[in-house]
């Protein structure tokens, strides 16, 4: 699944559903409709928080991520709401 087209086509913003497995990133922002975005943020995915994708389920969806001190499963649709920047 392709990330939604954006205006800044040269630097495609990374979202949590398309970063390489095992790599650490920082949350930039959580976009999207109120309830889902708020729940994701309440689970600890606030701007600045370190996050990494651990694996995806055998059927490709959902994905398992590591945030704060725990593991969380979320669907790619929700992961796409979370824009991230890779950590150095």
């Amino acid at each position: 699944m392709k990330p939604e087209a954006t205006t800044q086509s040269d630097s495609q913003p990374l979202t949590l559903d398309n970063i390489p497995i095992g790599m650490w990133a920082h949350v930039l922002n959580v976009v999207g409709n109120g309830l889902n975005a708020m729940r994701l943020m309440e689970m600890g995915l606030v701007p600045g928080a370190p996050v990494s994708v651990v694996r995806s389920a055998p059927l490709g969806d959902p994905i398992q991520i590591r945030i704060r001190d725990y593991h969380l499963a979320l669907r790619r649709g929700e992961a796409r709401m979370i824009s991230v920047i890779l950590a150095d």
């Binding site: 409709n33 109120g34 309830l35 889902n36 975005a37 708020m38 729940r39 994701l40 943020m41 309440e42 689970m43 600890g44 606030v46 701007p47 928080a49 651990v54 694996r55 389920a57 055998p58 059927l59 490709g60 969806d61 959902p62 398992q64 945030i67 704060r68 001190d69 725990y70 593991h71 969380l72 499963a73 979320l74 669907r75 929700e78």
Partner: protein
């Protein structure tokens, strides 16, 4: 009627000469809330329903010290005071001391015991700081403290307590350590009688910028607290979890493990549960014979033997399956594997419009829909849970097998396809498939109509693996069994006595053959009455009686046919029943039982909710008669239409 009023929880503030407080236990899911609650209250717990909703709370008594005790109420788990589900709303209303239709009957807690997982501090502190800021009298129980220490984490408890502004007590609920200190702390906070000053911490406009800002600031505040009080170690325990995860959620081994686990569960409730089940059935049929032999023949003896004893046996016979299934469910939940199973299978189940956690309830329903429907309580989303309940009875349960077997023995015996496949096996497989296909279709429709809702975010914590706690497992098993007997059992017993009365009245008189009695009874009359309606399906009035009596349990149609065909006691084996059935003729001289009639009847049994126990458990789980009535009606319509199409279509195609 069945919901135990919650007023029983709000016992007077003095029990005997002791002071009794109310303590509400709250916390994130997986924080060890249940283990702590069980450790505090022991096995003597009450379960209460909130009026009108399907949420249940458990309560128990905790002896704090010589002078006081507490009624402890276990609230549903929640991540935030921003409730997204009805369970969370109830917990939130109690925590904020809000009056609502759901909590009106709950006493305002004297102390809120917040359960915080020491290994997952920062996310757990989100709810904690929300509740503390609301002004509620809070005591924090820092659970899994041993695990945190073992993985090298270091938590400065005193500083944490000072930063939070609430007493913090480290506990290891499994080893009962720290519980004395916890009791003293709770008692002293309760005695201080700190007045709650209500602060509205949570903006109800959830998508507002303001709320976003509050949320981000809260996490910033939490990060400050953890920076001062918490030092991360080498994370040994979490590493063990990662190692287990790399196998059980592996692309290849993951599904293999999942299938093996599910097969074990299925094998146990489908096959191994049969031993205790037939034991129960035998005991009750012996008891029934004993009553017949001892008491003088008559109405009372009949009522006792065929109505009451058979009815009680019909309730208790479910217990082995329920106990075994809930043994597995609580093992899977408590160990942390259940979340992984849902993770693996979510994509597949979502394709069917259901939650990943719907898989186990549906699989269990192939053994019996009653434990299957009880198992849906692992599904957090209410609408997904109801959709799963509504389609669970389409899974061909073990009670349908005797019906399929009889039909095949009567009409398809020893026929083969391609020389080696038994036609009977092929037909049974078709019936199983029919049930699954219809379940998928109905779930699809339900999720787009009456159970339509914006999809809640699928954010599911994958907790660390733990050795299942014996007390938790035992508690879950016996609570579910007890609730089944108390709440569903009474309905099952009442309906089975009613069904007995339908075949026993009006009395045909003494020395009348059982077949004649049934034929003249209300059930017999009803069978004749519905004959015009079921004739287009290929059924005569005798089959009609079977359709009515099999509402007790599907396999009852076999014994009913035995009676209406007057097979008699000596030859209750199916072979003599089959012979009698095959000799049966319609008024026009054509045989009653043809392959097409058999298929039509099987289709009817796949789709109709011929099972009062299923309806009783749906009534109990949804806390309303609306859902079971909806279920029985729509399934009957589906069954009727499908049987009609089968029989009439079959005739058009030249089958007989």
């Amino acid at each position: 009627m069945s919901a135990q009023p919650l007023t029983t929880l709000s016992s007077p503030h003095t029990a005997g000469d002791k002071h009794q407080y109310t303590v509400a236990v709250a916390g994130n899911p997986n924080a060890g809330k249940t283990t702590l609650f069980n450790a505090l209250t022991g096995l003597r717990q009450k379960v209460a329903n909130y009026p009108g909703v399907t949420v249940e709370t458990k309560s128990g008594v905790w002896a704090l010290d010589e002078q006081s005790s507490a009624v402890v109420v276990d609230l549903p788990g929640l991540y935030s005071l921003n409730a997204t589900s009805i369970d969370e709303q109830i917990a939130r209303d109690v925590l904020l001391g809000r009056e609502s239709s759901n909590t009106r009957k709950l006493p305002n807690p004297d102390v809120i015991l917040l359960v915080v997982d020491a290994t997952n501090l920062s996310r757990n502190l989100y709810l904690t700081t929300q509740v503390i800021e609301s002004g509620a009298p809070v005591v924090v129980a820092l659970t899994m403290f041993d695990l945190a220490q073992r993985s090298g984490m270091d938590i400065d408890v005193e500083l944490l307590s000072a930063e939070l502004g609430a007493p913090v007590v480290p506990v290891v609920a499994r080893k009962r350590s720290g519980l004395d200190v916890l009791a003293k702390t709770v008692a002293s906070v309760a005695r201080s009688g700190r007045a709650r000053h209500q602060v509205n911490v949570v903006s109800e406009k959830r998508d507002s910028e303001e709320f976003r800002e509050i949320l981000v600031n809260r996490y910033r505040h939490i990060e400050e607290i953890t920076r001062k009080t918490f030092h991360r170690g080498n994370r040994a325990q979490v590493d063990l979890t990662s190692r287990i995860d790399s196998i059980v959620t592996h692309k290849v081994f993951g599904p293999v493990v999942l299938i093996a686990v599910m097969l074990l569960v299925f094998q146990t409730i489908f096959s191994w549960a049969n031993l205790p089940m037939s034991l129960i059935e035998n005991v009750f049929s012996q008891l029934s014979s004993f009553v017949r032999a001892t008491l003088p023949p008559g109405l009372f003896t009949d009522l006792l033997a065929d109505g009451v004893i058979a009815g009680v046996g019909g309730v208790l016979v479910f217990l082995p399956q329920i106990l075994l299934l809930f043994f597995f469910i609580s093992m899977l939940e408590d160990s942390g594997y259940m979340a992984r199973a849902a993770f693996l299978i979510d994509r597949l189940m979502r394709g069917l419009g259901l939650d990943g956690k719907a898989f186990l309830p549906l699989l269990s329903s192939f053994a019996c829909a009653v434990p299957g429907i009880m198992a849906t309580r692992t599904i957090e989303n209410r609408k997904d849970r109801f959709a799963t309940m509504m389609v669970a009875p389409f899974m061909s349960c073990s009670a349908r097998l005797p019906v399929y077997t009889l039909m095949i023995a009567a009409c398809f015996s020893r026929q083969r396809v391609f020389g080696f496949l038994s036609l009977g096996v092929l037909i049974i497989l078709t019936m199983y498939t029919l049930g699954i296909v219809v379940a998928i279709a109905v779930a699809w429709v339900l999720k787009r109509t009456i159970l339509n809702a914006p999809a809640p975010p699928f954010v599911m914590e994958l907790p660390i693996y733990r050795v299942p706690n014996f007390t938790n497992v035992a508690q879950t098993m016996f609570t579910s069994a007890g609730l089944f007997v108390k709440r569903a059992g009474t309905v099952i017993l009442a309906i089975s006595i009613l069904l007995w009365a339908l075949t026993a009245f009006p009395r045909a008189g003494a020395n009348i053959a059982p077949a004649q009695q049934v034929s003249d009874s209300f059930a017999g009359r009803a069978g004749r009455f519905i004959e015009p309606a079921i004739k287009p399906l290929g059924f005569d009035w005798k089959i009609g009686i079977g359709l009515i009596t099999s509402f007790a349990a599907r396999e009852t149609i076999v014994s009913t046919l035995n009676v209406v065909y007057n097979v008699g006691d000596e030859g209750q084996g199916s072979s003599s029943l089959v012979d009698t059935m095959l000799r049966a003729k319609r008024p026009d001289g054509t045989p009653v039982w043809t392959p097409l009639v058999a298929v039509s009847l099987m289709v009817f049994f796949v789709l109709a909710c011929q099972c009062m126990s299923t309806l009783a458990i749906v009534r109990r789980e949804t806390n309303s008669w609306r859902w079971p009535l909806f279920m029985v009606s729509y399934m009957l319509v589906l069954a009727y239409v499908a049987s009609l199409l089968t029989f009439q279509g079959g005739k058009l195609l030249g089958f007989s």
